[in-house]
Symmetry: D3
Subunit: 135 residues, 6 copies
Amino acid sequence: MSTVKLIEYHESSEEVKAIYDDIMSVRKSDWVNNFWKALANQPKLLKDTWNAIKSVMAPGSIDPLTKEMIYIAVSATNSCNYCTNSHTASARAKGMTDEMLMELMAIVGMANKTNALANGFQIEVDEPYRNGGLQ
Amino acid sequence: MSTVKLIEYHESSEEVKAIYDDIMSVRKSDWVNNFWKALANQPKLLKDTWNAIKSVMAPGSIDPLTKEMIYIAVSATNSCNYCTNSHTASARAKGMTDEMLMELMAIVGMANKTNALANGFQIEVDEPYRNGGLQ
Amino acid sequence: MSTVKLIEYHESSEEVKAIYDDIMSVRKSDWVNNFWKALANQPKLLKDTWNAIKSVMAPGSIDPLTKEMIYIAVSATNSCNYCTNSHTASARAKGMTDEMLMELMAIVGMANKTNALANGFQIEVDEPYRNGGLQ
Amino acid sequence: MSTVKLIEYHESSEEVKAIYDDIMSVRKSDWVNNFWKALANQPKLLKDTWNAIKSVMAPGSIDPLTKEMIYIAVSATNSCNYCTNSHTASARAKGMTDEMLMELMAIVGMANKTNALANGFQIEVDEPYRNGGLQ
Amino acid sequence: MSTVKLIEYHESSEEVKAIYDDIMSVRKSDWVNNFWKALANQPKLLKDTWNAIKSVMAPGSIDPLTKEMIYIAVSATNSCNYCTNSHTASARAKGMTDEMLMELMAIVGMANKTNALANGFQIEVDEPYRNGGLQ
Amino acid sequence: MSTVKLIEYHESSEEVKAIYDDIMSVRKSDWVNNFWKALANQPKLLKDTWNAIKSVMAPGSIDPLTKEMIYIAVSATNSCNYCTNSHTASARAKGMTDEMLMELMAIVGMANKTNALANGFQIEVDEPYRNGGLQ
């Protein structure tokens, strides 16, 4: 089911249990998904990754639903089946409609197309676009 | 400057001129960027791509600024220098602040990290996440 | 099971049989994995790929276990399920512990994150790093 | 100019000189490109790679110009500037017209788009397409 | 089966039915594959993508079978299981032999290898190759 | 030079200065590279990324030089020019010889080739390799 053993709650250390508890508390859920059970084989990786993702996905100048949709965009581009499924589920839980998912994927498809065209034609960046338009 | 000749306005056909005019009109700008000048070597590719991007990036259930940020997310993941610069410039022009760009890139970095972890550990999709949580 | 027929030992030519024998001999194993059975549809591709991989993965200035771990790093990044599973199995057979796999994946995750950040911000290479620090 | 020293003809070993001579002979050219000069730091890698590429790109059931165009398709998708430029130059030398390059890139753009859509929607392979339609 | 509902013919709108009919007519087939059933959740995306792919894959200066093989090259590079299977099936239906598929994959493998080498050594583009040899 | 302003030491906050000091102290160096100056636009991203990379790259069951080489492998595969140059420089500083870099790249090239072949042929994972050989 994965290339490392998945560490279940009942067999985990106190350190890991505390993170699992925090994951469930933040998500208002009663289960922990496989991703974290794999990372638990190295508690430091589990802890750092969870703390970082909790912070990154929190409300800020970008709202949480938009953040999930950006996550889907990257995961589809990288052909990550696990992340595409899990973040699509999270986005739906946060209110993403079918209409929004279709619009999102239309952009993701278009961006992958024009990325290939720009790279394939080796197009030089226009002067006004250099440094992302930074003055 | 690119692996195909860039077609300038003054040397383009009426068909291409009409599309260049539409690009400048929609963008309220007085110049056409290199990407379109490369595509103009095949007017059908230019026309279809421009019409599709105009439609995809228009306001809908996702707002235009968010759409530009999704474009940056894909372009950074694909290592497309041209698209990263041009869409960062477009996003700034539509109101993206430095704070928003930093939050966006924090998500893009995190997604690329967890994509690699999920693929590298070959983690099985949890039952509730299958089909993106589609009921 | 694959988009080409897998060529089994008993139905293969003498040329292919000789390579299959070498694969099993070098690996001290009594079976040949599917990857080679697919390549056997073009004996030259089978032979060249096997000879090259045998040479590349042999002990040198980098030890064989480290070489397997580098293979996993690339395969996880490329989302290759077959290669991720097969080279993780090979690395384990050569002594990779769970601790080592977790450390490896922590690096792979971090590298994918910072690659996306460096590309996404279009960061210029610092002068001392140019040409990889080559004097 | 690269992260390893480029080995020039006059400073190379007899083994490397022989390969450089073969490269120039096969290509009817009087110079060797930087790619091979980098690989020459490990003569075995140089020799194996050159022999394999010479064989792979030779006329077969796919003609040499088509082979160069397939090379461009992969290089554009991988964002490899060196290979995109060098194989576009090779394809032009073998007769690729601007019209053909534009058609090629239209396919490459479309394929990158639909790859992202199929991965992003996690679409299941239709029964008749399984194993690439292999009976 | 996918992260969006697949829209079957009998439950689709007149607009979608017309496109499904065109897909079956152009392909001389009596079924529609899952990819289009997913896109049908946004009729505009379905219509634009189908019209573009119909145009891009039509006979031109590159023949339809070669176009399918280029599609396979990109899909294998991007790790898109759906597109690799469906376009391999399409290529076979258009006459691709096992010999041709093996030659194609030999190029795709080689290109992915040399792309990684050229990027990994950061090799500078030789002067004659700049702009893809464009004069 | 990048799509965000690079924050120099003299203009940075106390929080950022403390991290810059730690970077220079850990690396026994008197300068900070551009990557961190870009991240400093969001001190939390700077701090978390630096702390994580410091931990991930520290000696463990994998030695620091090997860790740098794994970083190069991922960066070459992702076409990240910045990371390829900077980590090649770091690896050289830690003792990587030209011979080691050539061996590393031979593996990276081979892995990218066989990843494309395994994905392109859609090869099924052999039973003994499932879950990376995990018992």
